[in-house]
């Protein structure tokens, strides 16, 4: 199976993962997003007709209010028609397969699918199946990838730090189960971030994680020392079962981001989180709401980045 993200002209056909995404495309997306951010801040025009007459189907096999909403807003600001489907509660529970669902929606003349699914590889499967004029955006597949989240994170980093080539970045938390972490790592190595660290207990790191191009730390104090950017990961409550972690309290003590630990990072370090946050589990409220936090701007930039991705896909020949 070839990497189906690019078409024969080298344009973005689908956005499935940040792995192997050419740096020029990443930079194009970030530049394009900047024009949408400026436009929204100007306050006058929020809506552009770049996707007029196109139908975007948000198909979410896993519940997510936030991500689905930001995609919906992004599509509407591009003047697309948006249909939201929470498949978790409909067809597949009646035995319909994933590709049957997709075929049915294609028959309704979908131009773009925004897909979230609990299984790694679901977006690739759909992208390999649909007709050439249909585009697929991966809004999160299992533990594999969440490329628009990583791209909005890159936008945020560039907004505050201007450059990538002089940064030291730490990703903290449940890397093993995190599609966000994987996509962030690939995006940063593509953009030339020289030092990416992951900080987690051994139970929350996948095998050979170093081969993704990161340095591994188990001690948060060491890992945070002199970093420019701290990317926190969400810790699902279910990780307290299955002998991965003993308790949320102990996790917070050793891997939760507090003011004291953050003080080890550079004085102008920024703190990011993909949301939704578990205050008091992976991050202390005083940090989440503090002066280093850029968590809310991430959300704002997220809409612009998703507009950039969708308009770029819609423009591919």
């Amino acid at each position: 199976m070839n990497n189906p993200q690019l078409n024969k002209n080298g344009e973005l056909q689908h956005l499935l993962t940040t792995e192997g995404l050419p740096a020029r495309i990443v930079r194009d997306i970030l530049d394009r997003a900047a024009t949408f951010v400026n436009m929204a801040e100007g306050g006058e025009i929020k809506k552009v007709p770049l996707m007029q007459g196109k139908s975007v189907f948000n198909i979410f096999f896993e519940n997510s209010t936030r991500t689905r909403t930001t995609f919906e807003i992004a599509a509407k600001r591009l003047s697309a028609d948006v249909v939201n489907l929470n498949i978790g509660s409909s067809s597949t529970s009646k035995g319909e397969t994933l590709l049957d669902t997709v075929d049915n929606l294609c028959a309704m003349h979908a131009d773009m699918f925004v897909v979230r699914h609990a299984q790694s590889g679901a977006a690739h499967l759909i992208a390999n199946h649909v007709a050439p004029h249909v585009h697929v955006v991966n809004a999160g597949d299992g533990r594999h990838a969440h490329p628009t989240q990583a791209l909005l994170d890159m936008y945020t980093v560039r907004h505050y730090k201007k450059e990538f080539h002089n940064l030291r970045v730490a990703i903290v938390g449940d890397v093993l189960h995190s599609r966000v972490a994987r996509s962030q790592i690939h995006a940063m190595t593509t953009l030339g971030v020289p030092e990416v660290r992951v900080i987690a207990p051994k139970t929350l790191l996948p095998a050979d994680v170093g081969k993704l191009g990161v340095q591994v730390y188990h001690d948060m104090a060491q890992g945070l020392r002199d970093v420019d950017v701290v990317m926190m990961l969400r810790l699902q409550n279910e990780r307290m079962t299955g002998a991965l972690l003993p308790s949320a309290q102990e996790y917070f003590k050793y891997y939760g981001l507090t003011q004291e630990k953050l003080a080890l990072a550079k004085s102008d370090a920024i703190v990011m989180h993909p949301g939704p946050m578990n205050r008091g589990v992976e991050i202390d409220s005083s940090v989440a709401d503090g002066s280093h936090s850029v968590i809310l701007p991430q959300v704002t930039f997220g809409i612009a980045v998703r507009m950039a991705v969708m308009s770029m896909l819609a423009g591919a020949k």
Binding site: E19, T97, Q119, S120, G121, L125, P206, A207, L212
Partner: protein, 422 residues
């Protein structure tokens, strides 16, 4: 019927034969090699010029999907696939529905297979009732019904005491126990090797020590009980190393590997190719190299197809949800040849004839005078493209789809009858 196979290159690994010699078959048996026996009149002459004449292949693991999974494959389709692949004897694992844990089911399967007059089918009975790992099956009754060994198929036996007792009981009667080493807890929910690729793709993983921990337990219990243990589908470097040491100690162990694992690694998964979703998972390149070394030095006795026909719908799913397995009966010969290379045809054939026969304790897999005339005549040079239309099996699922492989079966004979001609 008397058959004269002439002008062929006769390769019989067990007898150390590799020469241009004619083969004469009469009354279902090898009547003579080289010169015709006195008074021999051929009813049929097969011109094997440019072809290799070898013992019929013996496959230690081929799922025929009957009973229970007829929508995936039927005995008819898979028996056709077997002879099209030059396979004249095959062992089928007990993971049917219902499980092969009752003599009646085994007798029915044997009877159905026999009536098709194609490859010989050797059922492997369930070691525990329903493969549930709790109660023993009636192994002696099942043996009378035709079972050649007892196994858990791909179901891990997590209760070590049950494993010990199953081995003790089997050893009492001299039965063989075939087990695939995989710790059920360490492998739980896993679908890919715990390495670089699973990490990159975010796939739940199965570590190598899921194999070695289970294998260590099996070897220790086999030593304790004296049971004849056959280790199925070994996949890791450390597993091969454990087997090598155990064999050096002189334990009565044998071991096989799937043809897929001889050639493929985790990297072949690419972007979630569900045809590469196999059990055990495709492992690292290092592991694959160790499997090659194990085949070469005899640590691994046999190559099997691990034939598992899966319907298209069950593969058109996200990787972890897709059903594991690959069709393989028709690929066993070319994949064995590809392992050994053109210069070592006899070494390749030994892994799919002589040695699997030894595992099964069958007087088969050779072409001595007087032996049953199960024969595979193939063109070692011919390339063919692996595509759905080229496969007789109802399962079209294989990681080799779209590739060209060398080695094509021209004739398959069972009991001295031509059952396939291609």
């Amino acid at each position: 019927m008397n058959i004269h196979i002439k002008n062929g290159r006769l390769i019989d690994p067990k007898n150390g034969t590799d020469a241009m010699q004619d083969l004469f078959i009469a009354a279902g048996k090898v009547a003579a090699i080289g010169n015709a026996p006195a008074g021999f009149v051929a009813d049929k002459i097969i011109d094997a010029a440019g072809l290799v004449v070898a013992p019929g292949l013996i496959d230690l693991a081929a799922r025929l999907r009957e009973p229970g999974y007829e929508y995936r494959a039927t005995l008819e389709s898979e028996m056709n696939a077997a002879v099209a692949g030059g396979v004249t004897s095959l062992a089928c694992p007990p993971d049917t529905d219902p499980v092969l844990d009752e003599p009646g089911l085994v007798e029915m399967l044997k009877h159905r297979a026999k009536s098709l007059n194609q490859a010989r089918v050797y059922p492997v009975g369930a070691l525990t009732q329903g493969l549930k790992g709790a109660e023993l099956t009636e192994m002696a009754e099942l043996t009378d019904a035709g079972c050649v060994a007892f196994s858990q198929a791909d179901v891990a036996l997590t209760d070590t005491r049950v494993l010990l007792r199953a081995m003790q009981y089997a050893a009492t009667f001299g039965f063989s126990v075939w087990l695939r080493p995989q710790d059920g807890f360490l492998a739980r929910d896993g679908v890919a090797h715990d390495g670089e690729v699973a990490t990159r793709l975010g796939l739940p993983a199965i570590p190598s020590h899921a194999e070695t921990i289970a294998l260590s337990t099996m070897i220790l219990l086999a030593q304790e009980t004296g049971v004849r243990l056959h280790v199925c589908r070994i996949s890791t470097e450390s597993g091969v190393a454990l087997m090598r040491v155990a064999k050096q100690k002189g334990l009565p162990l044998t071991c096989d590997v799937s043809a897929n694992h001889v050639h493929l690694s985790e990297r072949d998964i690419g972007f979630f190719d569900s045809n590469c979703h196999l059990t055990p998972p495709l492992r690292s390149l290092r592991d694959r190299d160790a499997l090659h070394a194990g085949l070469l030095d005899g640590t691994i006795d046999a190559i099997c197809s691990d034939h598992t026909p899966v319907d298209e719908d069950a593969k058109q799913l996200p990787f972890a949800e897709a059903e594991a397995g690959a069709t393989g009966l028709e690929l066993l010969l070319p994949l064995a040849l590809k392992w050994a290379g053109a210069g070592a045809l006899s070494a390749a054939l030994a892994k799919v004839t002589q040695h699997p026969a030894r595992v099964l304790r069958l007087d088969a897999g050779h072409l001595s005078v007087g032996a049953v005339a199960d024969v595979c005549v193939f063109d070692p040079e011919a390339y063919w493209k692996i595509e759905a239309a080229a496969l007789k099996s109802q399962g079209k699922n294989t990681p080799f789809l779209g590739l060209e492989l060398q080695g094509k079966v021209r004739y398959t004979l069972v009991d001295g009858q031509v059952v396939y001609q291609g």
